[in-house]
Amino acid sequence: MAEPLLEVRDLHKSFGGLHALRGLTFNIAAGETLGLIGPNGAGKTTVFNLIMNELKPTAGEIRFEGKNIARLATHARVKRGIARTYQVPKPFGEMSVAENIRVCMATDDLWKLISGRPDEAAERDIGQSVGFTDQQIGVQPSELSMGDLRRLEMARNIAVRPKLLLLDEVFAGLTLGEIAQISELLVEKKQKEGLTYIIVSHDLRALAPLVDRVLVLSFGALIAEGSFEEVINDEGVREAYLGQ
């Protein structure tokens, strides 16, 4: 079997006396879509924060493409091919959609940043590929709807050319129509660019058709793993959800 894209080994995180994660282990293969679900406070977002180095793990190991990435800063992880979205979209507020994409397309080479021209055609392509019209590309985020903001998050993440995309509550605050659009976009991007996803969502109905496999977290521990049907019929999972 091919080497997994991302391997997480015995990951622990505690905040003072509070254990947010207690020994999480999982793999994800390239091209796979993994769902990550669990009650509030189960530690799902913490997993993302640790993978991106926005938090430091108390113990454990994260390997990406076979290499331990513990020593890599956030931006270096992004350069290796990991990107994430946030529960609450965080665009650069005083920049247009195109400029938001431009920042994410920037290289880390200072000289190229100064001498090179922005690739406006590519910015427009990325904008269009997530469904923005030419007119919308020029507007500021304050004029966008929640669905459009999620789209902008996708556009920014596509602009950094990731291999693995961590999606945090991508369906929250969206109408059913918007959910369908975002889902379609996810499937399309996966087919075109061979992306791998880890999706955190409370919206199980939206999640079900997208995922190959689901992990269930409760109080920082993995309580079930399997296909969507297996997991939602699991006794322990039902208890964890109902018991909260």
């Binding site: 991106m52 800063a73 931006h75 431009r102 920037a106 200072l110």
Partner: protein
């Protein structure tokens, strides 16, 4: 280059031509005042490229200007080093010395950065009094420093050329993608990291450019005045004037600080007969506070919106 950039470059050219013709019509007294405006503009732009862009507010720019001023003053006055060598040395010293002190401070969040840089300025003031007063001249400083050119007109052209070149280069710089990346740091530094950019490298770059500009300005300033003393350089009022020039003009725009510097220097001259002493800082401060609280984007944005209104009116 795109159309807007070319059009605006025309504006720079016009500004350059007008300012070059100015000595034909105004008195040398006015020129001497404008020389100070040019220095203030250089310092305010130096502040702007770091603080106005990235949101890391520096209260320590007098510290950088002071390093440059003292380096070139000591080298040329005490050791007889020619100024075409001591000025570049001063700029290099500002970049190195500034980095040694400021870079630890760039590790902390924006808010505390300001206070730490303020502390540096204050303490360099203390140190010039105690450490090697034979070299630095202690509290009294050094006077009789060689000047680059003499007379109001040559100094006017020299300082204007320095300001114009620095301003144009910085303005072109912030219009590149690095300018956008630096403003993004001010909006959300974490998100810039998530975009795969090394923000430490970007901030360090902005800082280095800022220090270099402060160094050039500081060195020329000392060779214009012919003297340097700790009071006058490491002083809150000096910091305050730089800050206000950048803020009143419009932070983060490079053009704003130039406008602000001219405006402030003119206002000062206008007020001098009425308010000869410290009152002017009192008045300045109150005006600055009101402007800042109600129009934080400064004159530059007022002009920009006026232009928009005019062009809307025409069409």
């Amino acid at each position: 280059m795109d159309k807007t950039t070319l059009k605006l470059l025309g504006g720079w050219l016009l500004f350059g031509v007008i300012m070059c013709l100015l000595p034909l019509v105004v008195s040398t007294g006015t020129l001497r005042i404008l020389i100070f405006a040019h220095f203030l503009a250089i310092f305010a732009m130096s502040w702007d490229i770091l603080s106005g862009r990235t949101g890391y507010i520096s209260f320590g720019h007098p510290f950088l200007i002071g390093i440059a001023g003292y380096t070139t003053a000591i080298l040329s006055f005490r050791y007889g080093v020619p100024i075409y060598f001591s000025i570049p040395a001063a700029v290099a010293a500002t970049m190195v010395g500034g980095t040694l002190f400021f870079v630890p401070a760039l590790r902390i969040r924006g808010t505390y950065f300001a206070l730490v840089t303020l502390a540096f300025m204050e303490i360099l003031y203390q140190m010039t009094k105690v450490v090697a007063p034979k070299v630095t001249g202690g509290t009294r400083g050094i006077s009789g420093i060689e000047t680059i050119v003499t007379g109001a007109v040559p100094n006017y052209y020299l300082t204007f050329a320095a300001m114009f070149v620095i301003g144009l280069l910085l303005w072109l710089l912030v219009r590149t993608r690095i300018g956008i990346a630096l403003s993004a740091i001010q909006m959300d530094e974490e998100a810039v990291k998530s975009a795969g950019l090394n923000t430490t490298k970007l901030k360090l770059f902005a800082f280095m450019v800022s220090a270099a500009v402060a160094g050039i300005g500081g060195a020329f300033y000392v060779h214009y005045l012919g003297s340097i003393a700790p009071r006058g350089i490491f002083e809150i009022n000096f910091l305050f004037t730089i800050l206000i020039a950048a803020l009143i003009g419009g932070a983060g725009t490079i053009v704003g600080p130039i406008i602000g510097a001219y405006f402030l220097t003119m206002l000062l001259e206008f007020l001098r007969p009425v308010l000869p002493g410290m009152e002017r800082y009192f008045l300045y401060g109150i005006v600055a506070l009101v402007v800042y609280v109600y129009q934080p984007n400064g004159i530059h944005s007022l002009l920009a919106s006026a232009r928009r209104h005019l062009s809307v009116g025409k069409s």
